[in-house]
Symmetry: C2
Subunit: 203 residues, 2 copies
Amino acid sequence: MDIVKRIRLNPLERRDQLIELGMTMLSLRGLEQISVEDIAKKAGISRGLLFHYFASKRDFHLAIVQHASDELLERTAPDPSLTEPAEILRDAMRRYLEYVEDNRESYISFMRGPASTDPEMRAIFDSNRAEIARRTIAHLPIPPHVSAARTDLAVRGWIAFIEEATVSWLKDPQITRDELIDMNVQALPTLTLSPGLAAALLD
Amino acid sequence: MDIVKRIRLNPLERRDQLIELGMTMLSLRGLEQISVEDIAKKAGISRGLLFHYFASKRDFHLAIVQHASDELLERTAPDPSLTEPAEILRDAMRRYLEYVEDNRESYISFMRGPASTDPEMRAIFDSNRAEIARRTIAHLPIPPHVSAARTDLAVRGWIAFIEEATVSWLKDPQITRDELIDMNVQALPTLTLSPGLAAALLD
């Protein structure tokens, strides 16, 4: 049964429900294929009422992308019970791939579809990447001779490395998930010139 | 004087001339800003005649992108007089950045603009990346315990790393060109687990 039970929701709850329905659809198909009509139908409301919560189809899509971004950041937040940088990194990368596998169609669509070059969508992705970079740098033992500018560029590049490797792997998984996790985490200290972390990750 | 001298060109020469004019414009602005009218004017021909050579504006843009891709591959071809993998890589990377600096607006537009997600444009970029990956792997000393699938994924990821670092650097050059070259070339053996090459690059 596809239709959500018709219950009275307050405006914030209704807005969240519509975004949640969008997220569920997004896990099955790309952003471009999400129809406002289908979502309204599933929520048991009219198309017109949906536009009471979102000014346009585009605003609805932006709200979904923002929600997906927040969710990814929440699900990959560093575990405060861990103390070793190598452990923190490996644990977060494991959860990153879990998120990606739960949302493979939307991940591919965000990375490769029209959304990836749309300026407003891109601003959301870039702010997401900036937060991942910030967290990564916070736990990274950087040798004193390496400049902050170089580290910043290397971490941005590392995020692009992960995204490319992950999309390629989702489309054609030629190595195991554990091999991908190893490759992604071991890439970081070598790119950012952190030999101590590199050694810890090879343990 | 902007107008090219009106001379009789045979059809192939005329087609090449139009693509060359497109390339020149592309070095100054993104693909989306290239107007068919401006190109025809500069070539001293009518808009109608331009469409004799290219079926549509889109076909003209695709021909320009294909030409830019061929030119990048030509300008970064491995120097056959070099024999050491580390030298070959560093020399090719130096020429890659020369090409990028000569074509900065088009490079940024290819990497970040709508062209980067257009399926036909993307097919040209992906075949360009596949050729760069093929050349890279051909000169890469890979240890026997590393699988070809892992190497392939790591080289794809490395190309994404370079592209991201290069676009970020073009927009906000916080490190020197030589530092960027060093970072890009040293990233390869660490990502592909080639310790011999890594040592040679640090020499």
